[in-house]
Point group: C2
Chain length 151, copies 2
DNA sequence: TTGATCCGTCACCAAAACAGTTACGACATC
DNA sequence: GATGTCGTAACTGTTTTGGTGACGGATCAA
């Protein structure tokens, strides 16, 4: 599908890249190896190490990964892949939720205009919650198994 | 929250505007009046009539509204608000789903890189489905009641 | 101590999408 | 025919994203 400007949809690939990175870390952890550098991960994702480090920075802030600097340094999962639920990844990457209410000031003469914002806020909050609940049912270990069986 | 560039999140307001517009049409329908012009709706949303018409074009393609040109023309709901489920609105506005897989070519030497795309595709498809199922539980009539009680 | 890595972050660029605006043709109604 | 409305094109400005180079600071090995 194309939008009215004839361009493809936007939709971030940042969640996809985050899951790719985390799968790489989980895969490496299952092999018993130590930390992984941003350059190695960038080679797997086929992008630039800085892009990988930016996303890893958000995952680190959320407590999902840890990093060590210097020679032999890199990134590791902060805990076992079976204890990382995918809703935590979504929250780390998109902390504000997926939908947003328009900021346009309300037209005081219009009933709909005056009531729309709280109604939308409640609707979007519940929709985000439903999405997170769904993702909560899958762990990173589950996801890695699907990646390995798909390859 | 702010992202790495210090800017606010993106996230379309197009779904919010679409629900605002549809609420306006449903509200007018409940008053027994006829069609509503894009200029009237733009006054409620506080935006430009062309922005409203663009979104209404997508809703019309999805069969949710109809339009009539010429003097006295405008937009009307295609069916009763109690028979419009909000998942249909999401599909009309975001037909490709909310998430997308990165297009970077796979690194053949990497197990994760080779298996990530089908795994992400399946995960995102199921997440979108869960979200649509949630929205399916609310009709435009339900939503309008919340708008009216919130005002 | 020195050097080699590696993270963390900044600055910059190009591509893409959205919101807003003006304009104009097509069409229906009066 | 005049009026009013949709449908759409073109353009601008703002914002986000992805990609790239650069550099300081931290860490580790020799």
């Amino acid at each position: 599908m194309r939008n009215y400007r004839g361009c493809a949809m936007p939709t971030n690939t940042r969640l996809a890249v985050a899951l790719h990175i985390l799968s790489g870390l989980a895969y490496r952890a299952s092999s018993g190896k130590g930390s992984v550098t941003s350059a190695e991960l960038a080679g797997s994702v086929n992008t630039n190490p800085v892009v990988v480090r930016r996303i890893l920075g958000e995952l680190a802030k959320a407590g999902l990964v840890t990093s060590t600097g210097g020679r032999g340094g890199g990134y590791e999962l902060a805990r076992d892949p079976a204890r990382i639920r995918l809703d935590a990844v979504l929250v780390a990457i998109e902390p504000e939720g997926l939908f947003s209410v328009h900021e346009n000031p309300a037209n005081r003469a219009c009933t709909v205009s005056c009531g729309i914002k709280p109604a939308l806020g409640q609707l979007f909050e519940r929709a985000d919650h439903a999405l997170r609940e769904h993702l909560r049912g899958t762990t990173l270990a589950d996801f890695l198994r699907r990646v390995e069986s798909a390859g």
